[in-house]
Every structure is written in C-alpha cells, then in structure tokens.
Assembly symmetry: C3
Homo-oligomer: 145 residues x 3
C-alpha cells in the first residue's frame, strides 16, 4: 500500500516548532496501516524536519539558540549574501538538521517514544508556508474496502 | 514483506558506541530478504543513531570529543536546565546526528561499505537501556515457508 | 516493485558538489514509478549525502567553508590522526550531514522542491570515486512490460 500527499504547513516565525498534530490530523490513511513507514520530506532548502522532545517549549528555544550560535550570520567566509543575512545560515541549518524524517508505523499509529514529536525548523525570518511531501507505505491491518 | 520489532540495547555509558553486531544478531528475517531497506529508529530524544567507521575506537572517542566541544554544557542561552547539564546538549546532539538510519539490504545482508558500522550516540550520563524500532521491508529471496 | 543498483560517482575534489543529474541519468526505472521512494546511501564514512539549494554555486562554497570552520582539523582532542589531518574531520562531517537521503517519487520523477538538488559532500582531500547504493521502491504507473 502506497499513499502520497502534500501538506501545506501554517506559516510560522523563525524558530523550532512542534508540528506533530498539524501533520497527523491530515493523514487519514494512518489508522489503516498495520506495519509501515511514514516519510516526511520538506520541499525547501532553508527549513528542516527532525524528531525531538515534545513537552517543554524551552527545548525548542534552546535548539534555536544553539544553531544561531553555531551557524552564525554574516560569517566572513560567506559569498552567498544577496538573499539576506538569514539565508546562508538557513541552508546550513537545513543540511545539519535534515530535510526529511522517516518514522515507523505500528497498529495504525506512529511508533514514537513517549517524549518524541516532529519538529519543523523554520530557518528564515519570513519563510512563509512550507510544503511537506508525506509518503505512507505499509501493509493494511485489514483489506481496504 | 514487512517486519517490525523493538530491540532493547544494552545500557551504555555516555559516548559513541558501535552496535552493529548487537542489532544484527536480533534480526532473524534479514537473511531472507533479496532487496530491501532496514530502518532503525531510536525512541528517545537524547540519544542518536548514525553510520560511520567500524574499525578504530579512536574515531568514536573523537566524535564524542567533537560534539562535547561544539554542543557545550551550561551555555548561557539554555533555559531547559532542570534535568541536568547533560540534558539540553543531549537533545541538540540527537537532532544534529539524527534519530534514525535507513540501510539498504542486498542478498540477505546489509549493503554497507567495508568500513561502515552502526553507531549509537548515548548523550546522557545515565541514559539507561535504549529502545530501537527495527522495520524491515523488501522482497523475499524465495517465497517464505 | 523493488530495484537496487550501485552507482560509482566521478571522482571529485574536496568540497560540496551537486550530483543530481549524474545520479538521475543512471536510474532508468524512475519514470515507471507512480508513487515511491528513492533511497541513496553512500558506502563511505568520510563522505556524505544531503539535499539543498541547486542554483547558486556560492551556497556550496559557503557550506564547505562553514564545516571547515566548525569541524576543525588538528583539534587538540583528536586521537585518530594517522590517516591525515583531513580524515577525522571527514568522519565528523559525514555524521553531521548524513550517509543517506530518501526522496519521494511522484509520477515518474523525484518530488523535490524547485530549488532542491542532491549534494555529495566529499570530505577527504583525495577521496577517489565514491559508490552509492540506489534503492527504488514503489508502485508502477502501469504493469511493467
């Protein structure tokens, strides 16, 4: 069984955001999968997806602060500067964090740890709405109607 | 063909550990797969999985040293500090290294390079036993009995 | 439908290189897939694969400059030094950027964003030709001939 759809996320400000519920609410096929993989791919080179702690918003604050510190704006060696001081760091953050996540599905649900959720890394100051490709593959719990 | 199981890894101290053999010894279905993918997902937000050099233990030492240096404890901008000075760096290391790996399967074996193995990044001082979800998908070499 | 093949990339100098066309030109099965995933895995622990901006070569220059700055050669804490000053940083860059990418397939093409391409990170000074395992899985647009 294969299913693919594009999801447009709500526009968010620069930072790290928990988007588990926004994504799951749009994946109607998930409950019918017994064993499978959900693959999420972001179609932008200045934003990212990853898995991390789903409870304390301070974690997201600190992740954003860390990457702002260790992927600086206006580094002396940057040549790609015409799109703004946030653009080149956004590309590097996207590469470091990653463009996709793949999450196991079991019994119609994501088989995440208790404290795990899906993060969107919005690395531009004004990134706009971001598009994700969600691909579900797996075997049905029962034959589809 | 789909198979999914959870693997509890032995408890390890903080650092980078080679866990290829511990994982493979528990995947009884692997030899029957002709072409496929093994997906490993760690159900924790303060540990990580990646692929790297399988021979010299000094490489694992140096990877641990690097991330300790470039993901510092007690950074002035951390707000999430109640769970200990190793906790927030552990989340950032998990995001930087990643929560999952996907490895091609060919002829009943992982199609890794000669010098590649599977690393567990244990980023907490006392992380305990870690749980991995192993999902195997692929086509059988012969029809299953 | 499963297909797997190994692709030998042309030898490249140390740096970040756009390899989308070199890879796609060798994947003859792609046009026949309706929905699927292309998984690319590099069989080396001192090189990497990721997705990022496909237009301005300055972005690749700046990514290389960033990682050279934040994954230094000759760090005082490195123990693995016998293979040259570029070797240990190459392992860390490979871990940070990643060994594989998984890209959705839709209607016989990679479902990438307009500005996305596939990057090879060649992290050794003289890495030679690199081997990638390409695994295509998905459903056919029509029954194969």
């Amino acid at each position: 069984m294969w299913h693919q759809q594009e999801i447009k996320l709500l526009e968010r400000k620069r930072g790290i955001h928990l988007v588990t519920d926004e994504i799951l609410s749009q994946l109607k096929q998930l409950p019918s999968i017994n064993i499978g993989i959900l693959h999420l791919f972001i179609k932008h080179s200045s934003a990212s997806l990853c898995i991390n702690e789903n409870a304390d918003p301070d974690v997201r604050h600190d992740v954003e602060a860390h990457f702002n510190h260790f992927v600086p704006e206006n580094a002396a060696y940057y040549q790609h500067t015409l799109e703004g001081s946030d653009d080149m760091p956004a590309h590097i953050k996207s590469i470091t964090i990653g463009s996709s996540v793949a999450i196991p599905i079991a019994n119609g649900r994501l088989n995440l740890g208790t404290w795990q959720g899906i993060y969107l890394g919005e690395h531009r100051n004004h990134g706009g709405s971001r598009t994700i490709v969600a691909t579900i593959q797996g075997e049905y719990t029962t034959s589809p109607v």
